[in-house]
Symmetry: C2
Subunit: 425 residues, 2 copies
Amino acid sequence: MPETVTQDLPANPTTAPLPDQSLGRRAAASPWRVSRRSARANPSAIREILKLADQPGMISLAGGLPSPLSFPLDAIRAATARVLAETPHEALQYAPSEGFAPLRGWVAEHLAGHGMDVDPAQVLVTAGSQQGLDLVGKVVLDPGSTVAVETPTYLGALQAFTLADARFAALDGDVDGPSPAALRRLGEAADPARCVYLLPNFQNPSGRCIPAERRAALAAAAREARVPIVEDNPYGELWYDRAPPRPLATHWPAGTVYLGSFSKVLAPGLRLGYLVAPPDLLPKFVQAKQASDLHTPGLNQRIVSAVLQSGMLAEHLPALRARYRTGRDAMDAALHAHLGARSGLGCRWQAPSGGMFFWLELPAHVDAGVLLARAVARGVAFVPGAAFHADGSGARTLRLSFVTVTAAQIDAGVGAIADALRELA
Amino acid sequence: MPETVTQDLPANPTTAPLPDQSLGRRAAASPWRVSRRSARANPSAIREILKLADQPGMISLAGGLPSPLSFPLDAIRAATARVLAETPHEALQYAPSEGFAPLRGWVAEHLAGHGMDVDPAQVLVTAGSQQGLDLVGKVVLDPGSTVAVETPTYLGALQAFTLADARFAALDGDVDGPSPAALRRLGEAADPARCVYLLPNFQNPSGRCIPAERRAALAAAAREARVPIVEDNPYGELWYDRAPPRPLATHWPAGTVYLGSFSKVLAPGLRLGYLVAPPDLLPKFVQAKQASDLHTPGLNQRIVSAVLQSGMLAEHLPALRARYRTGRDAMDAALHAHLGARSGLGCRWQAPSGGMFFWLELPAHVDAGVLLARAVARGVAFVPGAAFHADGSGARTLRLSFVTVTAAQIDAGVGAIADALRELA
């Protein structure tokens, strides 16, 4: 996800869409009418507050960016020079919508290492996994279709599915993830959910990793309810204690569309990800991809393919994990020091075993938006959690990132949040 | 547009959408339901024929690719090396959805040279102008909304708007373009068209350039009917006789969304284009862009920005025009030689004054799809015109490209088409 939350959904996107509207009073003479789906995507008050977080000296724990210090620059420079020397015309010409064949092959092989049995022909290269969500909206959702989502869930998925005119069913859950029983009930509805969107590994925003037993139970419930799964996995390689359990897709391959990304393991600015679909469904995704942007840039695909084929991930990933583990540990220490039981501030969290985020639950009387304004005044920013909730809840939650800040900044930032909380006590 | 037409619309996309359908008999057990919009995008019989055109020795006049010999490789290599040396972290990190500021500035300045008064803040960088069409669908069209289109029109626009659940109204016209009276009538409908999609410069597929007077009349009719304009201009710089008249957007800035592309002037594989919207409307496009793929790759934007800032277009464009003019003239000569009045084959065409395509009208008894099968047997491929028509017409039309083939191939290819026609006489 990008550096700031640049828009929010309305508090409850499951209510009826807004009526058609022109662009407001000032532009009453405009000949343009904005679509209902676009009108529902409203700019956010929080975005305005977070703009303040761009000021010099501000400690931003709001980011969703990977650390630029982790980008494998030498490997990318070498791969780029090679591609532009050896296959410049191919890299710069129109290319098949499906993606660059060697890259599709690499993905299939890589996923075999995670227990998935994928033919390269099932792989579609996308402009990051965000585009995978857009394509799911186009291929799987009709206007008014319901998508089941976790509580909380990735904001960018809510945005993408909203532009597909979808509605949301927010699944109840616990510390291990969404409830299989809740998922099973969705299959009993008169108009069952078209799919369930799950982010099993170190979820953005909650950091939660779904344990193996819960994965099996969720896949079984989805299969029983005939609600297919969209499994999003941008963070799976970023584990700091142990590798996550095998993907949901291994439990129900015919019922799972799987999304992957190179943004967190190589570099997000290349905008490269992939979608894996059951063989019968892939042609529909390819058609939707073609209508969306013809294909992912050939230059970018060939650069990443060359970087990957060099085998550099074998060294790069352990280094990346070590870097981020240090940040995770620093934030855990800072939270215990400033917001632990002895602080009396009433916050709850669980240290994530991977990914980029801590998820903080505030005491009952504190609204995270109100706290943000106080925290920004003290020189620290975070992302309030409400925007990650499809059901209008989450006012008392917030997300903290530990990957682009130093241990000292983490300590100072969490300390400032504790001070801001004390003001509101 | 990419090298092959990889899908067609149903013959008449204005009819009711297909009912929900599973993935066919074989996959009756699939838990996936395909959306109505995706079900409407059907694979094409023509695609299967065109696959044969990939065989060695086949002369393809079917292509929509620019000539790879025209790519400014040295400039792109130098710009890429500079970007990865000077601003690698910025180029590889997440970036604003709006696009790279210097590139947005270049676009505004460039358009000033075409008589448009554009603030850089009105410019959104897109993944080619195809993505501009996708974003128009998201922001401007509701399910069931009508888009007015030319007859014929760009196939990729029909595909993009179909995935927005749109319907089409095909505008009548003549050799100068669509009829202003027909456009005016669209404003009188109970549910007026949400926009009119126009490709004024050397249209794909027809090659037609709308004259200045017709542009003024169309803009006036659109304004009167309050049907805003989506103006697509990928080919405007590819003029061989004289520069095209000023854009429609200069006639009605508040009522026009303008799409541009670097695919035809630099290289398509970078997937870089832009959208210019009235100031009040741009934020909606930025939100839709963010939900679609977060942002266009920073590396690609910075490469193109560096190439453009070097001023190389001043030399590159005249060379590009000279190259393509040769192809245009060769095809005009071949058509006169093999299909001219003395051939008695009854074909009609007008030599385009720019772009990449000739548009051929066949005699009344010849279906272009039938002719294609005969032509492929003789070693030459083209694109039948029906897929470019939203109203199910166009069976007797076809598109010929002259930019990736030699003069000798053009002569041999057109000769083979004449022979195939004689077979059908």
